[in-house]
Amino acid sequence: MILTVAWIVPLVGAVALAAFPRWSEARARQWAAAVAALSLLALVVAWVGFDPAGPLFQHVDELRWVPSIGVAYRVGVDGIALAVATMSALVFVAAIVYPVNTLGQPRQYYAWMLFLQSVSLGVFLALDMLLFYVFFDLTLVGMFFLIGRWGHGTPQVSALKFFLYTFAGSLLLLLAIIGLYLSIEPHSFDMRVLIERQPLAGTGLYAGLVFLALMLGFAIKTPLVPLHTWLPQAHVDAPGPASAILAGVLLKMGTYGMIRLPFAMMQETFAEYSLVVGIVALVAILYGALVALGQSNLKRRIAYTSINHMGYTVLGIAVAAAMFSDNLAARQMALTGATVEMVAHGLITGALFLICGSFWQRTGEYELDHYGGLAHQAPLLTGFTVLAAFASLGMPGLAGFVAEFQVFAGTFAVYPWLAVLGVLGILITAALFLDMLRRLFFGRLPLHLGQFAELKRAEWGVLGVLSLGILVIGVYPRFLLTLIEASSVLLVGGR
């Protein structure tokens, strides 16, 4: 029940917002924040009640929905899903509480936010492929309206591009899901059955095509180079909190999907192609980092680092899938690292995009050259940005390091060359973040920034919570690793 509560509560909250037209802006925001926090609380309860020694999927709910085609309402989590879902709920609470200009339509804005939270959590909690697809598609609808209505620049063009591009991916996903569904007798969308039976093992071309469609679908969402071109534009034109959700939550659906569907259900096929996937991930790592280095637009730069970071996650997944390597421990470590990377990236990039939102609210400008010397003017903003940037470039003691260390340690054992080349990505990321910090906060304060305001309480409160999360994971990752390892051991096959 607890998982159902977690995704339904925000939906009810959204409906309530739509139904009460008289609520003021402050009231709508308080309501949305309370509802989002309640959903987070439900997931925390689920976390506490999760037994690391228990079966793969726990807290399972099942209800009849459309039995004649083998669809049912099935939710449940393993450690990976639970970790990502809880992180997502936290990012949503942060994004909702973060102050933003709602352009005179606060109720609609918060209703869409809650709707998006509901369906995003649904993606991570679903145990039925069709339900997964339903939620996966509905996130596009929610994001489309958030970008189109509250974005800046050319929001409608960006929203349309985002929807079309990612919808193309999700249709490939649908075809692949039908392919998986037809491969099993009796036809079923139950993920647990598919994971257990591995129906496509040894079917050659058919399995290859299904795998290709699945991976293309998720690669667009993740996004992997060269399917990333929707991302920078959507990010630049989206409002700050929506960007935080886009990077923090929506991108994770791509990599989470890779773990849940192709990785878990088609182990044999994935193993065959793991080197190819690993190379693509390496390209994404290096290309994302290099292009980010070349950006002079703050938001674009951070957007491209997302491509780089999601590349680490995919690299970890590819290594974990390399079944022929008998180095079980390394593969497990890579999968755990990939999941931690998802959680860490969600928190870090969520914080960075919220910070971008703060810059935009103050000046309406993302160009790095517009800024400089803000360290004295806004010390709190400087502090939080420095922390998030250092976490993002993989400084030990912060969340990003835990993730990247495990991914690279695992990769080194299986594909040493990929690891050697991939580490270059970290070097470039370090350069680009240091350069960004220098141009934003150091040097001389330009005249037009004389009125630049320090963070408000709501802003630094939110950033404080996210930064605390980054620190805790960096210093004491055990609580997170226990949860994730419980599942990665089972998935990789060590128990």
């Binding site: 459309v66 039995p67 069709l130 609808v141 309206f145 409608q156 929807f163 249709l171």
Partner: protein
């Protein structure tokens, strides 16, 4: 002669005759009462059709008339579409002083469509198609002083005359080959072989002939004009009802053909061309009704996917009807919105509609998203079943083409949604009266109910099969 087997059709016929008589004698201010009569006739016909559901699939009237679940499901869908269209009409037609016979023409059109779907004999099929065509030509051009309506009527008539004659040529050829027009006999003779060339020509002519009512390539060109120029309730009726009838008729016909024929490939090619053409043409439209017309063409292409695999996949027919039902609900709701907004048609007139007419806009958005196939709306399940049977039937490439087309279609549907939500409004929004509002709500409730009650609908669809 088991007259009782034809009760729904007889009710429609009698209803239409009564309406004609009523309209001739009733004073001008009571012409709209004919709508009530039409609704009664539709309700009675639907009731009698429901009674036929339980019977095992059977043929009646010496085997020319099918009484199977496929025919009954088609009747119910078509009658439902007719009821929504009739409900939309009184407000729309209010300015026309003598319009009672309009409703009679609607009933005749529906009767023709039902005959198409139930025909188990090629002559019967021709009669059904001609009846629904002739009854709907005047409907399209009902606003005599409105130039686009006349143009649409003319196009509809000319294309209809051309393609229907092609159909008749095909039927005559088939008759010459088989020596009978009865489907059962046709199937038997064809199974034993025959002149392959003549048979191919006959089949090609009949399949192409059916594309007219289906609004599929090459007989599709009337659809956008009718959607734009005809009275909006008639557009709702013709985009939905005749497509359903023709799709079922086509499915019934091709399932007679032996495997040796190449028809699945031909139908698959028609499907590809139809959906691609419809979507590409819709991309450019700045007129919402025309856009809906082209989208309706592309939806015919999707429906044909199920026809392609009808011989290979037992679930293809239920999938076809499920898709058609989902399409009908989405399209009816969309046209109900257009009608309720007094047929406002330029995309620019929809700017900022969400601020002044939130409910109407919500219905429009739901309808369009259902037409794209965004889950959990009913359109998604329709499309999902189509994809499923197409892949299971070995036509994976066709499913991929359809998926690409779905992305294309999303673009123009979203354009409409985006202007209603993101643009600022200009000018006042005038709406029709309470009848159209009622029809709008009915169509929206039907759409939502079907989305929530998918399981019940699919369970019914499972029982659908052809007689004979």
């Amino acid at each position: 002669m088991p007259i009782g087997d034809l009760l729904p059709e007889i009710v429609l016929l009698v209803g239409a005759v009564i309406i004609v008589l009523f309209a001739s004698f009733a004073p001008q201010e009571r012409q709209a009462w004919a709508a009530g009569l039409a609704l009664v006739a539709l309700a009675l016909a639907a009731g009698f059709s429901l009674l036929q559901w339980r019977e095992p699939p059977a043929l009646t009237f010496s085997g020319v008339w099918a009484l199977d679940t496929a025919a009954v499901a088609t009747k119910l869908l078509v009658l439902l579409a007719g009821a929504v269209a009739v409900l939309l009409s009184p407000d729309w037609m209010r300015s026309d002083r003598r319009h009672g016979e309009y409703y009679a023409l609607c009933l005749f059109t529906l009767l023709g469509v039902i005959m198409m779907a139930s025909a188990h004999d090629s002559m019967e099929l021709v009669v059904g198609i001609l009846l629904s065509s002739t009854a709907s030509y005047p409907l399209v051009a009902y606003h005599r002083s409105f130039k686009p309506a006349l143009e649409a009527g003319m196009k509809y008539f000319l294309i209809g005359a051309l393609i229907n004659s092609l159909l008749v040529v095909g039927v005559v050829l088939l008759f010459g080959l088989v020596g009978d027009t009865d489907y059962t006999r046709t199937a038997q003779v064809l199974a034993t072989g025959g002149d392959p060339l003549a048979l191919s020509v006959a089949v090609a002519c009949i399949v192409l002939g059916l594309t007219f009512k289906l609004a599929a390539f090459p007989g599709h060109a009337w659809m956008p004009d009718v959607a734009q120029g005809a009275p909006a309730p008639v557009a709702a009726l013709l985009t939905v009802a005749s497509k359903i009838g023709a799709a079922v008729a086509l499915a019934r016909f091709v399932s007679l053909l032996p495997e040796s024929q190449l028809w699945p490939v031909i139908v698959a090619l028609i499907a590809v061309v139809t959906m691609t053409l419809g979507n590409l043409a819709a991309l450019q439209q700045t007129d919402v009704r025309r856009l809906l017309g082209w989208s309706s063409v592309s939806q015919s292409g999707y429906a044909l996917m199920a026809v392609v695999v009808i011989g290979r996949e037992p679930q293809a027919l239920p999938a076809l009807l499920a898709f058609l039902a989902a399409y009908a609900l989405g399209n009816l709701a969309a046209f109900a919105v257009v009608t309720h907004l007094r047929g406002r048609t330029a995309l620019a007139d929809y700017h900022g509609l969400g601020r002044t007419q939130p409910v109407v806009t919500a219905v429009l958005i739901l309808a369009l998203l259902s037409l794209v196939g965004i889950p959990p709306l009913v359109g998604f399940f329709g499309k999902f079943l189509l994809f499923k049977v197409t892949i299971a039937g070995g036509y994976g490439w066709l499913a991929v083409v359809a998926a690409i087309n779905t992305v294309l279609s999303l673009f123009y549907y979203l354009r409409v949604i985006a202007v209603t939500m993101f643009k600022s409004k200009d000018g006042e929004v005038h709406v029709l009266g309470s009848w159209s509002w009622l029809a709008l709500l009915v169509s929206a409730v039907l759409l939502l109910a079907a989305s929530l009650g998918v399981e019940a609908g699919l369970a019914l669809m499972e029982a659908i099969r052809f007689a004979g």
